[in-house]
């Protein structure tokens, strides 16, 4: 067995280390994912005014920036039983939807695409052939013209000529696992560049109602503050315009690039490369039109889409046997081996700052793929045509999506789907305003609210299921706990040796060159890791918030 260490895993948010053990044939037999940073945001939240939780918890992550802000405020609202005005709900959703699209696009193009796309190969592309190639995957390929591809080629040549490429330097260029033709590489790279421009446009959509992004500042307990923006037709129009532009890109570039990848990497998909245990869950959400909902909730085990269990939050438990916490929730750092590698020799060695959440005792995968699977399996009529069309165009089956490429496809399908239906949310808002409902805040008197309360909030956010739990005592936060999407996906093993989703997805993949473990990055990146989100102190008694303390001194074992 040979050990491959990847640290830092780049092109993700935060500090992630992956260690895999490969056999003589280069096949991964064991894998360990480890979060490398602990900040203790929940400890900082303790003893603060519950109304301040949002601004502070928002800082859990600057990439999923709005998600924690909203979830923290919602958990406090849940504790106090504050009913949100419809408009506030919609505005929060609009911010979230724009973030979904922006996040997915940045993830694929800027953080992930270089695992599939060889920048240097694109230089050999023939612009005319690229034009033809692009038409295979989209009726109206995005920004597709001979001069466009020629311009991109020229730009690339300028960048690559020197052989030194700033952020592109030291990539695994020329690796035999790259499968795209020069023209295909060129197409996706041209979208890489377009997406750079486009994602800033989309962040405008977040800022219209959020004040700014990263770290919007317009959500307060009981509602939102951006009422003046909501009542300004120009602001609404700007928002719609941004989303329209996004839709154009998602439909004609993002989605078509996924079809291109699905064709080029068909063997990998069919072999199930990057497939996990097949346990998916979603909490659903984003309602509109009174009866409709973008995502359905439910639980699927072992890729069995014929049976969807209802989601039951009481089945969530958290374990810390392999994480740097003790059973009573204290930091229990057991250090690394002398050579800097993770301590994994014994089955109870601790190796990560990420705790291990389990659902019904199982390690779960959440995220766009889980949302697509669960919604599809629950016959969500809104999403079904989007999935069916993709499967038809790529000649794939539903289960094939449970793979590295498939996770990306699910993200693109979801983006297209959101672009389609976000307008419904806007029109709901317009209807309300038309009927003189301009309320954006539910009035309450803080002093008269219950002095002790517990609340929680579950949301589907770009990377999966996010949950915040708060317990309030004497008008102060007594305890706080977060389980973020990456906490689920990047979870370490539990006491029974059950691997987290990343770890499980790595098992069985073949690494051609152990010095250049591109295949490992592909699997890891397909989950869109967000490590700042993932690391949270353990809540020792499951969702019933327990008491835990943290000591600044480690308990050396």
């Amino acid at each position: 067995m040979k050990k491959i260490v990847i640290d830092p895993v780049t092109r993700i948010e935060g500090h992630l280390r992956v260690e895999v053990e490969v056999d003589e044939g280069g096949v991964v037999r064991e894998a360990y994912a480890s979060g490398g940073l602990f900040r203790g945001i929940e400890i900082i939240l303790k003893n603060r005014d519950p109304r301040d939780a949002g601004l502070l918890a928002g800082r859990i992550c600057g990439v999923c920036t709005n998600s924690h802000f909203r979830a923290a405020v919602s958990s406090v609202e849940d504790a106090y039983g504050i009913e949100l005005p419809k408009n506030a709900q919609i505005i929060r959703d609009l911010i979230a939807m724009a973030l979904f699209i922006q996040d997915h696009v940045v993830h694929f193009y800027h953080l992930h695409s270089l695992d599939f796309v060889d920048v240097t190969s694109a230089l050999q592309a023939d612009a005319a052939l690229a034009l033809e190639e692009a038409k295979k995957y989209a009726k109206n390929p995005y920004a597709s013209s001979l001069s466009h591809y020629e311009a991109v080629l020229l730009k690339l040549q300028n960048f690559v000529k020197a052989g030194r490429l700033g952020p592109f330097a030291y990539g695994y260029w020329g690796h035999s696992a790259y499968k795209l033709t020069p023209e295909q590489n060129l197409i996706i790279i041209s979208h890489y560049l377009e997406a750079l421009k486009f994602q800033t446009e989309l962040s405008k959509a977040v800022a219209i109602f959020g004040g700014k992004t990263p770290h919007p500042q317009s959500i307060v307990v009981g509602g939102v503050t951006s009422v003046a923006d909501m009542l300004n037709p120009q602001r609404l129009n700007d928002y719609i315009f941004s989303i329209k532009e996004a839709k154009e890109f998602v439909d004609n570039a993002y989605l078509s690039d996924m079809k291109l990848l699905a064709a080029a990497y068909r063997d990998e998909i069919k072999a199930g490369t990057g497939r996990g245990a097949g346990n998916f869950f979603s909490v659903g959400g984003y309602a509109f039109d009174a009866t409709q909902q973008l995502f359905s909730s439910g639980v699927v085990y072992g890729h069995d889409f014929s049976k969807v269990e209802e989601f039951d939050e009481s089945k969530i438990t958290e374990e810390v046997d392999r994480a740097w916490y003790s059973a009573d929730g204290e930091v229990c750092y057991t250090d690394l081996n002398d050579d800097g590698t993770l301590k994994t020799a014994k089955s109870d060695d601790k190796y990560s700052w990420i705790k291990a959440p389990r659902y019904n005792g199982e390690a779960m995968e959440c995220g766009p793929l889980a949302r697509v699977f669960v919604s599809y399996a629950k016959s969500n009529e809104l999403i079904k045509p989007f999935v069916d069309e993709f499967l038809k165009d790529t000649d794939l089956e539903l289960t094939d999506l449970s793979s590295s490429v498939g996770r990306n496809a699910a993200r693109a399908i979801e983006s297209a789907y959101i672009c389609e239906y976000v307008f419904k949310l806007v029109s709901d808002l317009l209807q309300n305003i038309k009927h003189d409902d301009t309320q954006t805040w539910a009035k309450y008197e803080f002093e008269k609210l219950p002095h002790c309360a517990k609340g929680r909030a579950f949301f589907e956010v770009p990377r999966g299921v996010l949950s915040h739990f708060v317990s309030i005592k004497d008008q102060k936060i007594e305890n706080y706990s977060v389980i973020a999407p990456t906490t689920w996906n990047a979870s370490p093993k539990d006491r029974f040796g059950k691997r987290g989703a990343y770890e499980q997805a790595l098992i069985g993949i073949k690494i051609k060159d152990t010095a250049k473990p591109l295949e490992v990055l592909r699997v890891i990146h397909s989950f869109d890791p967000c490590l700042a989100c993932a690391v949270h102190v353990i809540d020792a008694k499951g969702v019933e918030l327990g008491n835990y303390k943290i000591k600044s001194v480690s308990c050396m074992v």
Partner: protein, 803 residues
């Protein structure tokens, strides 16, 4: 890196100032063996006749230079890179010796009260005290002796002065008899002065540490005060054992003695030229070569230049222009008239030296033909002597004549000596003629017609600064970065991004305005942008949320800033780089090792110090965050802490600070880290700081928290779009009320704009889309220290509210 300078004279001071200017982060330490801060020896005479104080003749020394007084260096330990004084030891990375020279004496005068040399402020003091009631005997005929003689002659307290001259010339043995006579007359017309030629001291009678009687070949003087001005020798005794010396400490043409040791000024001898400096200009040139070799990419060799000397005694006025090639043999042409002599020293039709007494020739012309070694015809020189009607030569260093200066003053409306600096360096090089220049400026004020003045002194100053900035930016062009793109690529890239010229120009104006630069800087800013990619950048993420990285890629003006983001040599940035694991670590090591002192380190995130820093570990070896930070910061040209966590620990250090997190400056224990606070910061501030660093080679003006003033000077509340409502007493009282719909003041909803300094109201976020106040929430002072424990809430701020 520590640059240790031994010496406190003009060469040392010039070097220290230049070094600090080029590299603000350099630790410059200066050891002077005197008890006073550096002063200009040229004006020592003014201390004798009390026409100036020590304070007044002090040399400007950059306040960031660490000056140690009373440190006479007695030993160097090259092995360990240390120097020793009697009671202290100093470590160095680079050592520059600039100990100047020591005056000669015919015998030991250290124990004699009424004898002195004339080299230091202490000497001037002892002469001033000692001459009272005594006959003064000045020994020597060189410029130092002559200058002192002139002053003594003018002092009422001095009744009799005798000059003892060993041979039969004054000033220089090469002067003609006519010249010597002219000089002599200027002194001896004052009856209290006597010059005794071919004379020297043959005996002294010393009692109780005093010379009671002095006997020379020709004279006998009772109770004298003797001043020796008989030449100088390099002050190098402490270094003879460890460094190779001849007359002075031997150096190469870069003024380097050994790997890390340099010598400049009167103590140094350039081996190849056999040259020991004697003039301010040569000392300055040597310092410049040292700086170039030590700190800049383009070392330049020391070249001897033609020098200009001047001696003024009352109405009498001597100018001496000497080429580096001057030596025997030569032919001499002397042109003399009443009270006026011109001497031309020639060899093979080339002018080697010119001495003019009370002459009116164009000195600059003389200098040029000597420097260029042009062939000259003597009648040309003769014409030159009468052709110019520029008045009297005032400043020999800049060849400024009286009428030239009047012209400059009138044309430009120069109101003061300080103003003059923008137009002419007259009075500033050696400083001797400063008083005269001041008088000319004052005397010409009535001639100024302000209607005709074209450029103000400020205009000229700005133009100069722009020029300097341009040169510095151009220098970066010569760097060989990893990201080898050049200006033409940027143009091409702009085209492929469909960026229009006027769009770029608008952006440049915006950045310049944001940096509070004069609009004339826009051109430099533009060229700065073009070479921005030459600065290698390491962007470290420590205990962070990537918010600042996200903000950076979403910067305000998408196409242009994305391009710049693409374009800058962001050689290490974990969020964006394609390399992972070992490959990314080699990228980092490569920069740290091969681009020492060139790269900029940008740090995002707090530094956890608890658990021995192990709350954060990065890389194969499991390096802790603090270890990684130290490694990267050590050889960085500049460290920039981006965002509030890097500023003071931010949210990570909020109470109870579970991981013992601190900001970057505190973690490194440094006070030269630029902080760009904010949660996250506006990316334009990052670009601005990089540009400023390139254009001015120093840190931008900073506030007390080391934040660039241009971005953190204005208070949110003062620049807020809702300020009018505050003044009108129109406040939002609860979220979503009528006031909220109308955009009233958010103070009562806990807006902390009154406590926050930042440029948000003008810059806004996401392409100027909005900012928290516009979104109806109010500011939470995220740029301020400890804001999460103080301001991050929706309540009116009172001290008791804080966490």
């Amino acid at each position: 890196m520590r640059l240790l300078i031994v010496g406190g004279g003009i060469a040392a001071v010039y070097l220290a100032n230049r070094a600090k200017k080029i590299d603000a982060l350099l630790d410059v330490v200066m050891l002077s063996d005197e008890a006073y801060a550096p002063y200009d020896r040229i004006h020592l005479c003014s201390l004798v006749d009390e026409s100036a104080t020590l304070q007044k003749i002090s040399l400007h020394l950059d306040p960031r230079v660490h000056l140690e007084l009373n440190q006479k260096i007695i030993k160097i330990d090259k092995e360990k890179k240390r120097v020793f004084s009697k009671d202290a030891m100093f470590h160095y990375d680079k050592l520059v010796i600039a100990t100047g020279s020591l005056p000669n004496t015919p015998f030991d005068i250290s124990k004699i009260k009424n004898a002195a040399v004339f080299r230091s402020a202490d000497d001037a003091k002892s002469i001033k005290e000692g001459i009272k009631g005594r006959e003064v005997v000045v020994v020597g005929a060189g410029p130092i002796a002559l200058e002192l003689l002139e002053r003594l002659g003018k002092m009422e307290s001095v009744h009799k002065v005798t000059l003892l001259v060993r041979s039969n010339f004054l000033y220089d043995k090469n002067l003609s008899h006519e010249s010597i006579k002219l000089i002599e007359n200027s002194y001896t017309k004052d009856k209290k002065m006597t010059i005794s030629y071919e004379d020297e001291i043959i005996d002294i009678v010393v009692e109780d540490g005093e010379i009671k009687r002095l006997k020379s070949k020709k004279l006998e003087i009772e109770n004298p005060f003797v001043v020796f001005g008989i030449g100088i020798k390099p002050n190098i005794d402490s270094f003879r054992d460890v460094l190779e010396c001849n007359r002075g400490i031997l150096t190469n043409l870069f003024m380097q003695c050994e790997d890390d040791i340099y010598a400049i000024g009167e103590c140094a001898e350039v081996r190849e030229l056999g040259f020991v400096a004697g003039h301010v200009e040569a000392c300055v040139d040597e310092a410049e070569c040292t700086v170039a070799h030590l700190l800049l990419q383009e070392p330049k060799e020391f070249v001897r230049k033609t020098t200009v000397d001047m001696l003024k005694v009352g109405e009498f006025n001597l100018v001496d222009v000497i080429s580096a090639k001057f030596s025997n043999p030569y032919e001499k042409v002397t042109v003399s008239a009443e009270n006026c002599v011109d001497e031309y020293f020639l060899r093979e039709k080339k002018l080697l030296r010119y001495v003019g007494i009370n002459s009116n020739t164009d000195i600059a012309f003389m200098q040029t033909i000597m420097q260029n070694e042009s062939e000259v015809a003597i009648d040309e020189l003769y014409k030159n002597r009468v052709a110019k009607d520029r008045g009297k030569l005032v400043c020999s260093c800049t060849s400024s004549y009286h009428n030239d200066l009047v012209d400059i003053v009138v044309k430009n409306g120069v109101g003061s000596f300080a103003d003059l600096a923008h137009f002419s360096q007259a009075g500033r090089v050696c400083g001797r003629c400063r008083g005269e220049v001041v008088k000319i400026i004052e005397g010409s004020q009535h001639l100024i017609d302000f209607g005709k003045v074209k450029k103000s002194a400020q205009d000229v100053e700005i133009e100069k600064k722009v020029e300097e900035a341009k040169k510095r930016v151009e220098r970066y062009n010569k760097l060989h970065p990893k990201n080898q793109l050049d200006a033409s690529n940027l143009e091409a890239a702009m085209q492929s991004f469909d960026i229009k010229k006027d769009e770029v120009n608008r952006w440049i104006s915006m950045v310049s305005a944001n940096m509070q630069l004069h609009p004339k800087f826009e051109e430099v800013v533009q060229s700065g942008v073009k070479v921005l990619n030459k600065v290698p950048i390491i962007w470290l993420e420590l205990a962070d949320c990537s918010g600042n990285s996200e903000a950076f890629i979403k910067s305000a003006n998408p196409s242009i800033e994305d391009l710049i983001f693409d374009y800058i040599s962001l050689d290490y940035h974990e969020l964006l780089m394609s390399a992972s694991g070992d490959a990314s670590e080699s990228a980092l090591e490569d920069i740290i090792k091969n681009q020492k002192g060139e790269y900029v380190l940008i740090v995002e995130g707090a530094v956890p110090l608890g658990l021995d820093g192990k709350y954060l570990r990065i890389g194969r070896q499991g390096e802790t965050g603090i270890e990684l930070l130290r490694r990267c910061a050590k050889d960085a040209a500049l460290v920039v802490a981006v965002g509030s966590c890097a500023f003071d620990g931010g949210v990570v250090a909020a109470a109870p600070n579970p991981t013992g997190a601190v900001g970057v400056a505190e973690a490194l224990g440094r006070d030269d880290v630029i902080n760009i606070s904010g949660c996250p910061t506006n990316p334009i501030n990052i670009v601005g700081t990089l540009l400023y660093f390139m254009m001015f080679e120093e840190m931008p003006p900073l506030d007390e928290f080391n934040r660039p003033l241009w971005a953190y000077e204005g208070r949110i509340h003062d620049n807020c779009e809702r300020r009018g409502h505050f003044e009108a007493g129109e406040f939002v009282k609860e979220w979503g009320d009528e006031g909220a719909k109308k955009g009233w003041c958010l103070f009562e909803m806990g807006c902390k704009g009154a406590y926050a300094n930042a440029s948000c109201p003008s810059m806004k976020f996401n392409k100027g889309t909005s900012w928290p106040v516009q979104a109806g929430h109010g500011c939470m002072a995220c740029t301020e220290r400890g804001f999460f424990d103080k301001y991050a809430n929706e309540r009116v701020y009172h001290e008791k509210n804080s966490h």
